[in-house]
Symmetry: C2
Subunit: 428 residues, 2 copies
């Protein structure tokens, strides 16, 4: 006799809802699956198109109407009270190159299940609610193929002109508009009238896991500053050009990477995250001194004044770098957000539901940007976290226990159901 | 009445040979011409194919037989004494991306003119010579599209197996063999029996210009060490991953670029050129900590022991970098050469000819690698330099005065003619 290992696992799904969710998550994880156990489905690639088609079918099969707006945001509208606004819940299906299965995708799938369950619950009671519910799969949250990140929600919330987004090109010169037409998920829907917004995501850190807590209730965002930096030197021969004559853009860029890291190394009291993770080097030949390096600098802190001081310190290091490498450095802030609260009423609502479900919870800040960071400025918004194993993120090894996946979805379902009843009316 | 500006220029060609040379150089410079006044004709690209076809036609029209060996080296054989070995003269037509018009191409064209003139001179005297002369356009000297550099001459001189060269791929995965077949310049010729080799090139430095000297006579090479370095970290989220958990390959690579530069900054007595000019960053996304950076490190010095000491010092800096960035660094020497002399008899021969032509000259070392660095190991070889304006090289702004272009070709013509008479027989 064999024992079915699924029944003896500590992460065993215990309800048919759990089984359906995990089965769908396995199906979803196959789109753009990589050999390393992750996914590669960057925005508007064929893999993104396939998963969007799958979600379209999933939603339609459960009675939702699927519509696309002009920048590829995908909405699944469950209408119980025609003409009423919608509780919107979702995240994004696009991933980083060699990204993990959970980042974004978990939030979309949990939202689809939560919305469907909440609607079923309405239908089995009196069949009405003050608000409808809609699932959203925001376009291009990751910002790797097309920049900036959080593109779809930025357009939806009026922070980025649609025209700017549509004419943005990937490194091969393909526009967002052309890529969206290629996968056929662009439309003319203006988007629903939003009564409230809810999003669930993996933590992408190890705080919940370290403390053994099931749910993070996001009460505010870290501040972030993102810069486009161009280091300009001059092309010359790596062998014969005497060192004093070199204007080496890659040397200048490397000094800047080190200076960016030193900002964090020197911050002992207040957390500061600093990163350079992308460079475009011209001409990038082993025997030609680089004439130009373009790169992104990313600075984040829970303390906005401290972040600004760090940015100032970085700016002060530039003249020394320009002199040492005989280059010029141009720095433009392209994107950023402040320390901003999520509405306290939403945090309280989610905490109450978690208590009722027996889920341990804590409030926390989000360091990573999420579509909810845009949405909270236009609608009462709730942002929930489930634990990430070892905090691994933007990595094929990203993982979350099935138990946490299911518990988070249960929480989101109840939160969505209460939002449909107007639980956050008037809160911001 | 207008004055023809060409007749009043200080760089006026004064002979019909000069006019023909400069006209051909203008024609040649149009292949792969860039908006910035340079050329982009990397090895076995369509632009390389076009210039090879043009050279083929040029040589054939002047009585040479054009043949290709198995790795795309292009030979133009002027046979005055059937069965006798050949004096070989040439350089390379391929360029860096956004490279200059002179690097390599000047040497091939000067060789073609010199060989043709030398043969004409034989024909107008008794019509014979102990040796024939052949022009060579070596395949892929630059080593940017396909690595390593000096590929064609390395295969010809037995330093690199032909099979290794042919199966080398460019970043798009195209092999050398496929690229050569695409442009149709691959054959089965074994290559000529070489009695002596001569090459002329722009200096790619400013020593001749600074001193107002017309000709550099290369008496030896700087030593060079080239390394492939792989820095390995781990992919994670640039925002949310706490700094202590990061294994940032781009930070590690940047520390290494700075350490490489510091080797040169700290060398005050003995010249040391150090460079990193190419990096491949994975995944190269603005919001993902880099998991891997592959890069080339290039160290050069006229003092081999000093170069080895610098390489040792670099190796000693690695553990500290690995610890600070939480990465691993793998370093493999891929290519290199020692301080090696060109035969003194060749330097003397060229000096004598320069004196007879009234051209000022000095002996000097070559810092850059050239095909002659390979050829000197298998045949008595002469390497000549003409000045580079401001020493600019591997840059669209690369330039040499017409007067120097013509004078160098005159010198090469006379040198080739004397080599055909056996002037270096027995020298190495």
């Amino acid at each position: 006799m064999t024992v079915d290992s699924a029944t003896s696992s500590p992460t065993t799904p215990t309800t048919s809802h759990d089984s359906a969710l995990l089965e769908d998550f396995a199906t979803l994880s196959a789109f753009g699956a990589t050999a390393g156990g992750g996914v590669d489905r960057q925005a508007a690639t064929p893999a993104d198109g396939e998963q969007r088609a799958w979600l379209h079918q999933w939603l339609t099969a459960r009675g939702a109407e699927v519509r696309y707006d002009g920048v590829g945001n995908q909405f699944g509208l469950f209408t119980v009270t025609p003409g009423a606004p919608y509780v919107l819940t979702g995240s994004h299906l696009d991933s980083q190159p060699l990204g993990g299965r959970y980042d974004g995708a978990y939030g979309v799938l949990a939202s689809a299940h939560a919305a469907h369950r909440a609607v079923e619950r309405c239908r089995t009671s009196d069949g009405t609610a003050p608000y409808n519910v809609a699932v959203v799969n925001w376009f291009n949250e990751e910002g790797c193929r097309f920049k900036p990140s959080m593109m779809g929600s930025a357009v939806f919330t009026g922070k980025l002109p649609a025209r700017t987004a549509l004419t943005t090109t990937d490194p091969a010169g393909t526009t967002v508009e052309a890529a969206l037409r290629e996968i056929g998920t662009i439309g003319d829907y203006a988007g629903p009238d939003v009564a409230a917004y809810a999003e669930i995501h993996i933590e992408q850190g190890r705080d919940l896991e370290n403390k053994g807590i099931s749910i993070g209730l996001v009460d505010s965002t870290w501040a972030a500053r993102k810069y486009q930096v161009v280091v300009r030197g001059e092309q010359s021969h790596t062998g014969s050009t005497v060192m004093a004559d070199r204007r080496d853009a890659l040397f200048g860029a490397s000094l800047l990477v080190v200076a960016v890291r030193e900002l964090a190394e020197q911050s002992t009291d207040i957390p500061l995250h600093t990163s350079v993770s992308e460079m475009t080097i011209e001409p990038n030949s082993p025997v030609v001194v680089a004439r130009e390096v373009r790169m992104h600098v990313d600075l984040r802190s829970p303390d906005e004044a401290f972040l600004d001081a760090a940015a100032k310190k970085l700016a002060e290091s530039v003249p020394g770098i320009e002199e040492r490498a005989s280059v010029t450095v141009e720095r433009v802030q392209t994107h950023g957000w402040g320390v901003a609260p999520f509405p306290a009423a939403g945090v309280e609502l989610a905490a109450q539901v978690a208590d009722e479900l027996g889920l341990s919870h804590q409030t926390m800040m989000t360091i990573a940007g999420h579509d909810s960071v845009n949405m909270k400025d236009v609608a009462p918004s709730i942002m929930l976290f489930v634990p990430s194993i070892e905090g691994i993120s933007h990595n094929e090894g990203e993982d979350t226990n099935d138990r946490d996946v299911c518990a988070g979805t249960d929480l989101l379902t109840e939160v969505v159901h209460r939002l449909m009843s107007g639980a956050l009316d008037g809160a911001r």
